[in-house]
């Protein structure tokens, strides 16, 4: 099976470095973007299979990025990177039609396992309307 192409958009270079290693260890081809604008460009050009998107970014925040992605692609799995508590996450989930969440502060190994299972169990994963 081909490596899945994953794009991580986060303004924290150190975090990108860490999650890149973690994702590569999980057999992903990892692309990174340091801001929303760069991220949107890479979504168009590189056509990733999955996007991990930080919600809190200066200038173009995660919400706006997701809205733009959704304006032309309703099916691309987008996971939101967040530091929020459960409840707020669920509120956001309803609003954003995100595929899932990665909690920055919890165990990233587990979080990446979750992404794996979501993507593997439902390869034709469709975002709920």
């Amino acid at each position: 099976m081909d490596k899945k192409k994953i794009l991580v958009i986060d303004d924290e270079p150190d975090f990108l470095e860490m999650i890149k290693l973690r994702l590569e260890a999980n057999n992903y081809e990892v692309l990174t973007a340091l801001n929303g604008k760069e991220g949107l460009e890479k979504v168009q050009q590189e056509k990733p299979d999955v996007v991990l998107l930080d919600i809190l970014m200066p200038e173009l925040d995660g919400l706006s990025v997701l809205r733009r992605i959704r304006s032309y692609n309703k099916n691309l799995p987008v996971f939101i990177i967040t530091a929020f508590s459960n409840e707020e996450r669920f509120k956001l989930a309803n609003k954003l039609h995100a595929s899932g969440f990665i909690v920055k502060t919890s165990d990233l190994k587990q979080e990446v396992d979750n992404i794996n299972s979501i993507l593997n169990i439902a390869p034709q994963y469709k975002v709920k309307k």
Binding site: E12, D14, F15, L21, E24, A83, T105, K109
Partner: protein, 545 residues
Amino acid sequence: MKKQKTKDLDGQQKLPGLLVRDWQKVFDAMDIGITASDKNGHFEIFNSKMQAITGYTLEQANACGDFSRLIYPDPLERQEALERLNEIMQKPGYHEIETQIQAKDGTKKILSVSTSLINYKGRVMFLSIYQDVTQRRKDEQTLKQVKDELEIQAWGLQKANAGIKDLYKELEKKTREVEKLDQVKSDFISTVSHELRTPLAITKEGISLVLDKVAGETNEKQEKILSTARSNIDRLARIIDELLDVSKIEAGKVELKRRLVDIAGLIRQLTFSFEPSLKEKNLELKVNIPEKQIDAFVDPDKLTQVFTNLIGNALKFTDKGYIEISLQEKEKEIACIVADTGLGIAKEDLPKVFNKFEQFGRLPGGGEKGTGLGLAITKGIIELHGGKIWAESKLGAGAKFSFILPKYTTEEIFKEYLNNGMREAMEEKARMALIVISILEFNKLKQEFSDEKMGAILRSMQGIIKDTLRRKGDVVLKESGEMVVILAGCDKEAASSVENRLKEALDKYLTNEKLSGEIKLRFGSAVYPDEAKNDQELIEKAKKA
């Protein structure tokens, strides 16, 4: 003076039986001073009252030649007084002046004087009437002073009032500042926790990557060092989380999301997660909970936190024996106890256990280290629920943490749900629908069925209602045999479609259970704020519809 008409006093002498001498008596009986004098100032009449006022007799007044010298010792005052008296004599009509005299004993008196010309025994004389108005003027003076004082006081009050208004304005300003500060503070808390957690997460992930051998092989010694580092990062993260919790509780920023929760079930579920640690320490967990549902109106997440803290603490400080959880439903409260056979707490430390950053009986090494915040948070949560928590212990003889939660009647819970729903609807400018499902002839049915059976039926129906709702909704089972569904953000159309679905599901249940002959349901709904402005109206409307 010539123009002035004279009064003929002699004429009145003609009254039958009244002699001239008697006039003197009449004058003496009067309570006003009366004098009659000729143009030379010689007094013919000087009545008793006048004597009382001035202290002089007729003889004394006449003896001096000029009476005015006696009563006006100051020449300037005398001149002025005489001028004024002369002046009024010139004017036609009745005149009165006030003048201050000095009586024989030296006291100053204010007299009101009126003078007119009369014809007395064929002579033109001055008839003067004096009234001692000293007391009246004094009273008036006092009254004026009182009035002035009152006015000053009123003025003071007015000023004070204005001052209070200013203070109030200042207070409002300060309140706004405090509110702003509060916002800043709570923003600060969440920013700080976010800012602290991010680098921590990165550090932890770095260590994890090495430990997971993503960056190559590691030896045992390295792994041990990194594991210690990682567990301390976890601890730091917990401290940050708990600090955030404490700050939120202290700032009153915690809003409980109360639901009807079966606490017995919640505890049973929780105990599973502690099984591995219990096994590891070879401890027994005694669960002393009645075999039934014990519903409380609480925030399930927060109450889970309470139990996790208390059981976790017990676990931490107990090496042999057991941990016991007891739950008791009393008439007005739910009582819960978490007891252990562990180290216990010294008497002098007992009052401090719920303080922040107070840690006692910490064992050197071993086990997960605490943050010193768990019990402070626990107490905060229990108190937010209107409950009370306390600790009993003896050093070496285990610890016992007890708390009570108030019980609410279904009516109170229903009102709470309803008001929360209406408040939310108002804040979000949204609607809220109320669906009332009444069981007809509920009291008669209650007699036919056993309590147990009726209870089971009601719970099943409640379950069906909950399962049928596709949106967020609260269901309350009322003692009067009504099931009320509160639907946030629901308009009339959506409410009737939910109502139809519920009707279908419940009818199906009643048919399957062969109860449709006995139990009849009535459905009704109302939407806030379209159909009703307050809770009472809403209920009435939903019951009727």
